[in-house]
Amino acid sequence: MDASAVIRTHGITKVYTMGATQVHALRGIDVDIQKGEMVAIMGASGSGKSTFMNILGGLDYPTAGTYELDGIQVSALSKNKLADVRNQKIGFVFQGFNLLARTTAVENVELPLLYDRLGRVKNPRQAAVRALERVGLGDRVDHLPNELSGGQQQRVAIARALVTEPAMLLADEPTGNLDSVTTVEVMTLFQELNDSGITILLVTHEHDVASYASRVIELRDGRVIRDEYQQRASAREDLERILAEREREELEEVNT
């Protein structure tokens, strides 16, 4: 086994019990993810992607199996310790952004630092501004979520996930609520972050999005049915091509 594995799961199962019926959402997942990987998790609706991500993100406990994150046995932690792991080791990005309403971008981003028990960051605001600059929103620091576009809101959420400098970024359908151009923009950001060394796991339905990852894991009925490395496409190149195409179309429109 490789010592640089960030994530190591063994026999993860998850059973939801609803009255008499039991739903086996995960039926034994063994996955190792190395530091610096960018992994796309795919699969049909109900295949268990979100359930798996929630367990990886420390938001939920598996029914059975072990999960080791950065050398910590997460599946054995108490609720409070799990909260600390979420705070210090994991950056989670949601499909629906999940920003606090009536709260400016920078305040949203500094929030995780306010819950940091170690108080590692002395100036949360400054760190939050830097995280916003990193996702290209240095000029939107004091904007409220409802004053931002969907893509910008998702970038605020990514900045919030980054601000604690976590071991990895987990994103459950981060582009699910975005249009195609914004999707490529956000994927460009993910690729840049990945290039700077951050491990990224993202759930997606779209093959286009998955093509930007260097590894694709596919689930079906709570099992891994495919786990392949691939040559990842460059989101930046795609973005530039799309923007250039757009410009040309606009020019044509003006000319006619």
């Binding site: 909260a83 600390d84 949601f94 999940n98 306010l114 819950y115």
Partner: protein, 405 residues
């Protein structure tokens, strides 16, 4: 560092939701305001009574025949009158601290004179009485020690009696009839007003006690002995001393209780304000109920807001807030809102008390203690009623909270 950050988090949440905050605080604001006004009315009445008592005389002690119990059977207050002239005499001669003494013999009598016929209190007193009572003459003169010794038939009239009998004329020099005995009016007193119990102190005729006892009635009992010290600091010592003198004078054995009472003005005030104390308590109790309702209001709105804020709680937990962080945040929010509401309530209470005083003419007093108690109480309300919703919020599971729509 961390608690401070949580205070910051709670503070932001309060500021960002002004309407919710205001609604939450409203109950406390009204409750504290109501308590303050009610207690101010009660305290105002009490302080008015106290000032009336102070008006009774300066450095004054009142000795009255008290309840005596023999063989465990209480005979009730004043049931067996054992105050005598000798008692007054003894106090005068033996006490170190007492500077003035006057026995008071009280009876009621029909007074005939001038144009009228008036029933008034007839007090037989000694020469020191006026000084003890801090009372001045409006006209005429006061009787002398010689008048007392000889039992001279002279009287000094209270303002009310003088007005009733000699309206518009000078009463001094006139003759009045008390129980068919002609008595000469030598002076008229300045008005003194009402006692705390509401009786008119000016509805009185003062004569030497010898005259009253020997010539005007067959009433021999001394209803009170009024005493005053030259120095206010001597009052407690004088109280003890008089007690010892009278016990000896009455021949009381060690185990027997006093058959008299010696009260200072504070004790008199306490007795007189006993009823207003009850009233204050009652008013405060009623107002406290509104504070309680205010507290329930806080809980109610916080419970609703826990549901409404489920998503927010989920987000906070997802990024690493512990259950205890959420608990503390909600508790701080509750406390800050209730104390803030309390403070606004205090301000409104001050205004309300002033308004009540203005409109009704009652005197209202807002004591610093009332303000402190109101603030502490509202903080307690915040903790008490904020705890349940806060715990509910803290017990949430992040996944369920995030999935909540």
């Amino acid at each position: 560092m961390r608690p401070f950050r949580l205070v910051k988090v709670a503070g932001k949440s309060i500021i960002k939701n002004k309407m919710r905050t205001l609604l939450t605080m409203l109950g406390i604001i009204i409750g504290v305001g109501a308590v303050l006004v009610m207690v101010a009315v009660g305290d105002g009445a009490k302080s008015q009574i106290e000032s009336q008592i102070r008006n009774l005389g300066s450095n004054m002690l009142v000795v009255t025949p008290g309840s005596s119990s023999a063989g465990g059977v209480s005979r009730g207050s004043g049931s067996f009158n054992r105050l005598s002239l000798e008692d007054a005499e003894k106090i005068k001669n033996e006490s170190v601290f007492v500077s003035m003494v006057s026995p008071v013999v009280t009876t009621f009598s029909q007074i005939i004179g001038g144009s009228g016929n008036w029933r008034a209190r007839l007090n037989g007193v000694d020469v020191d009485y006026l000084l003890i009572r801090d009372w001045n003459l409006a006209s005429g003169s006061w009787f002398t020690a010689q008048d007392v010794r000889s039992g001279k038939k002279v009287a000094v009239l209270g303002k009310t009696v003088a007005d009733q009998l000699f309206a518009g004329q000078d009463a001094v020099g006139q003759t009045i009839q008390i129980r068919n005995v002609p008595v000469q009016v030598i002076g008229v007193l300045e008005p003194k007003g009402q006692t705390p119990e509401g009786s008119d102190q000016d509805d009185v005729v003062l004569s030497p006690y010898t005259t009253v006892q020997q010539r005007l009635s067959r009433f021999r009992f001394i209803s009170q002995i009024l005493v005053s010290t030259s120095n206010q600091n001597d009052i407690p010592a004088a109280q003890d001393e008089i007690g010892a003198i009278l016990r000896e004078s009455h021949g009381l054995a060690q185990f027997e209780e006093n058959d008299f009472e010696v009260k200072n003005q504070t004790q008199l005030a306490d007795a007189a304000s006993g009823t207003t104390e009850v009233m204050t308590l009652l008013l405060a109790a009623i107002a406290s109920i509104s504070l309680l309702v205010g507290g329930i209001g806080i809980m109610n709105i916080m419970l609703v807001s826990v549901t409404e804020r489920t998503r927010e709680i989920g987000i906070r937990m997802a990024i690493g807030a512990r259950g205890s962080d959420v608990l503390v945040q909600f508790l701080i929010e509750a406390i800050v809102m209730s104390v803030l509401g309390g403070a606004i309530g205090v301000a409104i209470g001050f205004g309300g008390a002033a308004l009540v005083a203005n409109v009704t003419g009652w005197s209202t007093v807002v004591e610093p203690n009332t303000v402190i108690v109101a603030l502490v109480f509202s903080a307690a309300v915040g903790i008490f009623f904020g705890f349940y919703p806060a715990r509910k919020a803290a017990a949430m599971n992040p996944i369920d909270a995030l999935r909540f729509e």
